[in-house]
Symmetry: D3
Subunit: 282 residues, 6 copies
Amino acid sequence: MYHHVKKLMYTVNIGEPDVRFGNMLLEQFGGANGELAAAMQYTIQGWNCVDDLARRDLLLDIGTEELSHLEVVGALIRMHLKPLKTDREAAEADPLVTIAGGGGVALFDSKGNAWTANYLKITGELDVDLRSNIAAESRAKIVYERLIDHTDDPGTIDTLQFLMTREITHMKSFTAALESLEKNPFSVGMLKPTPGIVDEYFNASTGKGSEGDQDMHGPWQTSFGLHPVDSELTGGQGLSVGDVNGKIEGEDRGKQDSGQKAPTSPKAAASHKLETVSTKKR
Amino acid sequence: MYHHVKKLMYTVNIGEPDVRFGNMLLEQFGGANGELAAAMQYTIQGWNCVDDLARRDLLLDIGTEELSHLEVVGALIRMHLKPLKTDREAAEADPLVTIAGGGGVALFDSKGNAWTANYLKITGELDVDLRSNIAAESRAKIVYERLIDHTDDPGTIDTLQFLMTREITHMKSFTAALESLEKNPFSVGMLKPTPGIVDEYFNASTGKGSEGDQDMHGPWQTSFGLHPVDSELTGGQGLSVGDVNGKIEGEDRGKQDSGQKAPTSPKAAASHKLETVSTKKR
Amino acid sequence: MYHHVKKLMYTVNIGEPDVRFGNMLLEQFGGANGELAAAMQYTIQGWNCVDDLARRDLLLDIGTEELSHLEVVGALIRMHLKPLKTDREAAEADPLVTIAGGGGVALFDSKGNAWTANYLKITGELDVDLRSNIAAESRAKIVYERLIDHTDDPGTIDTLQFLMTREITHMKSFTAALESLEKNPFSVGMLKPTPGIVDEYFNASTGKGSEGDQDMHGPWQTSFGLHPVDSELTGGQGLSVGDVNGKIEGEDRGKQDSGQKAPTSPKAAASHKLETVSTKKR
Amino acid sequence: MYHHVKKLMYTVNIGEPDVRFGNMLLEQFGGANGELAAAMQYTIQGWNCVDDLARRDLLLDIGTEELSHLEVVGALIRMHLKPLKTDREAAEADPLVTIAGGGGVALFDSKGNAWTANYLKITGELDVDLRSNIAAESRAKIVYERLIDHTDDPGTIDTLQFLMTREITHMKSFTAALESLEKNPFSVGMLKPTPGIVDEYFNASTGKGSEGDQDMHGPWQTSFGLHPVDSELTGGQGLSVGDVNGKIEGEDRGKQDSGQKAPTSPKAAASHKLETVSTKKR
Amino acid sequence: MYHHVKKLMYTVNIGEPDVRFGNMLLEQFGGANGELAAAMQYTIQGWNCVDDLARRDLLLDIGTEELSHLEVVGALIRMHLKPLKTDREAAEADPLVTIAGGGGVALFDSKGNAWTANYLKITGELDVDLRSNIAAESRAKIVYERLIDHTDDPGTIDTLQFLMTREITHMKSFTAALESLEKNPFSVGMLKPTPGIVDEYFNASTGKGSEGDQDMHGPWQTSFGLHPVDSELTGGQGLSVGDVNGKIEGEDRGKQDSGQKAPTSPKAAASHKLETVSTKKR
Amino acid sequence: MYHHVKKLMYTVNIGEPDVRFGNMLLEQFGGANGELAAAMQYTIQGWNCVDDLARRDLLLDIGTEELSHLEVVGALIRMHLKPLKTDREAAEADPLVTIAGGGGVALFDSKGNAWTANYLKITGELDVDLRSNIAAESRAKIVYERLIDHTDDPGTIDTLQFLMTREITHMKSFTAALESLEKNPFSVGMLKPTPGIVDEYFNASTGKGSEGDQDMHGPWQTSFGLHPVDSELTGGQGLSVGDVNGKIEGEDRGKQDSGQKAPTSPKAAASHKLETVSTKKR
């Protein structure tokens, strides 16, 4: 159940409205990496997370905070878009918002794309969702940074700095939640990859380009057991496709298997013990 | 420049076609986490990566391999959908593919949604893109695993096992590329988060639910300097919003700053030294 | 600012899961007239409603309640979709949710369409938004009714009956809010329609069809000053297009003009008096 | 069956083309509340309305007129966009229309979003559809008003004033059609809401905001039997969820039940009597 | 201006409703190659075709006929979907249409995708648009054929045969209109392709596949001046990129240049002579 | 299987970046008629073309070349968009690309619409697909022409001239492939249109408009056996709907029936003879 408190999580004050900047800010309201996307991604992951009520709590804590951020971004945008209502030249900064939306904020990005759930990454596999969330927070962080770089208004900068800072907070929490599962970083789900071929780095792009591009070497070809393999087209051996021989069970799913389950969890019947999440500091 | 070799990267053989399973397989052809999404995400990131030609090579190697995977998945789907062309009952498994597409494969997911670039996560910030790619590979891995769990056909399983294995390979490479940047894991871009408030874990979801939900504790509240803060609504102190005071430069961008630049890189003028990526084994 | 209480607004209990019905229920989660659409439409209208803080409160009360409904619908769907995770035949009821979503709820409708902000109707003109909301509530009501008609499970019916009932509650509130503006029902905005031509009902569909269709008469041709006009093509006089002669100001905007304004309202400077909304019973 | 008459319903004449305004006008051609949306919504509602041939005639009369409006808006836009074809600076006002469309009109809105049937509200329940249409006409009216406010060209204003006026005409007709059903305004479909809880106005947004926001009172809390209820979170009693006890039939569907049916109507077998719609003036 | 005649262009009669087939038929109502797509594509091309009023008449004749076809397809679908309203198992054939749409027809395809203007191909270049239309008619023809192949109901087959036949009629007309422009078939617009490189057929796919695929030869490599060129990657010479040297004007635009212009045509000032289209039989 | 060669198919050099033009160029990267659309359309048609391996080779040759073009267009756009990264005024040319994409190229068109597979025309019927491709190439040609007309930069013009020229090359090849099937131009699929009514050109648009529009005559009414028919509404006889009487088999499918089949072709069992495509010059 949700409750709305009329106070904004961060009080917004701006100087002179800047309609072109207000338009840019829509990226964080109705855009692909914006606050609604974050709120919906984490909240729905949380609702689905019936196998691990502790990490469900985490997902709902952060999902709810992102809704409060959406409200803050909305207030900031409205202040910057205020001139749209009365000024023809300002209106040209966002004709959709002006003519259809009356100058208010709406679930569009800076180019008027309607928000879509296609932006969300929700798989129902906890460690995968946490990885998606770490990536999502890093995207939101860089977007706020770019917005800060495009304005000089101190009140606007402070609001964006607040929001940007919180993304790093969330990145820390999602990273800690992932690490506390104590899984192998390359273990996903319950099936194992096929040995041998899993370690072949395939060199599918070769030659020399006009900008200095060429075949290069780096740890991404040799770490974690990897070694490079060239294509048969360029005289190499190609991938060891002969290694594949049916599915291989036995991947480690980590601490989530012993998490506290909701009664509607598919695993609740089998495992009723309470989760005791280690709370070691870092 | 691209070249197509008529041989499939993995030779597909199936037993009896299974049209409902063929429909499910579309998730990995035209779906949100499918092979076209992977190919386009990495390839376009690579084209944009003018500041670090070594990791651009990585992005193009893997992006190109994903195109070859798309072709393999397409061949597998076509075999399973073959009965659509002639059998009314089979046709009901996917009327869109049957009636509009003549029973062939197309860029739709299992529910007929047309593939959209909204699935892609491309920011032009290298470490952020690498995080998005690690998450994308883990999503693709779990999707292949679920597909394997929904079929008994050995030839189909082998094909999917091949594809699933390669996702782990790519996860390793992207992780190695990110780590080789030698950045603080919570450093993104060039602006720092505000100290103090960055370490406050906000408890926005409280109370007890009917499925055992309650406020729980875990390392996500106390790791990496974090500590929990309650909302004013539930008697807490709320976030330290007063900490915010303008933007703070000085974040560390890691090894990419010394990467080999293309002449069209904005940073090429300032930095012409060749990248020497460390190739230490792990 | 938002807060999440872990208790559901309505405790959901179901008997036997029914995956095909769970799929239908997605209409009210991620569908065009579902709970997220309601929550977002009213909430964003509320955030934009800086000219009338009293009706803003109404919009936020109901917008927030709809978020709580979204959570209830989500819980109901999860229970019905539970067999998707383990049963191949069940999985065919929704391959997208099974394969990509791991059997959890997501922002799709029953045919897998991703939720889009194109579903929302937000204009920033208060009386128009209230009309859109009355219509939206009536749509949500009929959709819940149809869902109730497609299940026999008592626990499911009770949950849907709860949700359906609340739509009527909201229809009452939005209707009262519109009527309390004390506006002419055909007065919208500040420009008047052109007299004469505004009262001409144009008969653009004529003849006899094979299902009994013919030109019919009804109050919609003769109420509120209307009278029918035939097309020149069928021997009539056509519309009085000559009546049009420039714009005509002077439409009545009702009580909202004296509503309490936020400082960021464009009209706040001109009107600082507190709104005294009449609270007469009906 | 449709016929096209080459004469425009309103002859368009403009002075100097204004490409930025032509771009704004696209809102009423390919936009969410534009003429195609209106034409399709009413026409398809009419095709589906086999239970009430009299109101089907109404829906087709207005649906067809909206197609004629689409043509008028298209002519107006083409005149304003004419410079796109030859002038680079003009072209920047709408690169999509210029480069892909050759400067002609197309089914996009002012920000280039392709028209989508997601804009339509069609439920197949007559009184619900009429409410959606009243709301749709009020939205179209305010959009035309805003367009008129953004141009000084007399010929353009007259064309828009014509179109705006007709929206009010249609609002009158749809309102009369709804009222002539002689239904309770809060009766939708055939199932009744649960007594008791249907009258509880839930106060889900509380506290004080920085713009003067606070808990306010208005007729929307006390009209039509309503009374306010506070959340348990803020010390109230919460909703009377215990009132719910199964579905309750018996809602009044009004005059449509005695309307003239098409032979393909599900109700045609049971009711063959001719509708005698009252034509009382207002 | 449009007029609606209540009589259907083809009277629809069916035997037993077939809901799964009704669902398939949606492809031609709200699908990518359906009747609305045809109606909108030709009509809007026609409205834009101010440079050639004779072919504008053609575009509007056919565009209007397609609207009448949309109505016929709609009637056919409604008859097949009638059981959706009352039968739970039938409802599973299209839950979206049942629950959200009340069993009526709507602008969706068979998989529930909302119709989008992205389906349309409108360029404002007459010969290009005519080519797009010839292709569109051939697509609609094959879709009707597949639908006919999926039903045994004689009344349904006759309706589809009528509609399929008309697509061939339109293909003839569009082909005749294109040929009557008397243009070189490879002349588009006003700029010429670069000689030399325009005749190089590039062999970008080579090798042998497991299904018999190999490099093959055909007239597409040697007609109209073409000759094959191999890639440098496979030992060939590559394309003669050195041939390119600026733009080359002088392409022949055919009879449209002497077509009768509307006064709003950009070319109207320069060319006022009436078009005399040759009407030679074929 | 694909291989990437780091050398661009055409080396791009530009003078001064022009961000507004870079934005326009996105039409050919992520736009409806752009290079990804071409690459995907032909490639997927090719993968599905198991009945005619020779023309499959053609489709894959050209599909692969279009991928190389996508890379060239991407390089051109990046050079023009380079100032977005550092210049606020430049950023306003494309806020989405700047803020969300970091100034890099992405799969959007000039108005920020995400690329969608709805742009593709893939039917699995070879001659239909070839017609769609001829039309697609002509559209791409005119789009490149318009882009050339909007820039003065010689390096940019050369790149675009290269790409435009190749579209004509492909138009030639697709036309030759269609003609080499040696089919009647109005024969599609296996069902014949109904004689009589197939030759009736229906005059659905009549009257006189204010721009000189009137009923006109042209070869499109009288070629290929056609003759004009007027609507009953305007005193004509209407279409000969009585001609329709069931389906009529016997359409000629041309040389594809004797094409070399893949083993997965539905027709492979029946036809194993090698295709001998005539290679007559033109």
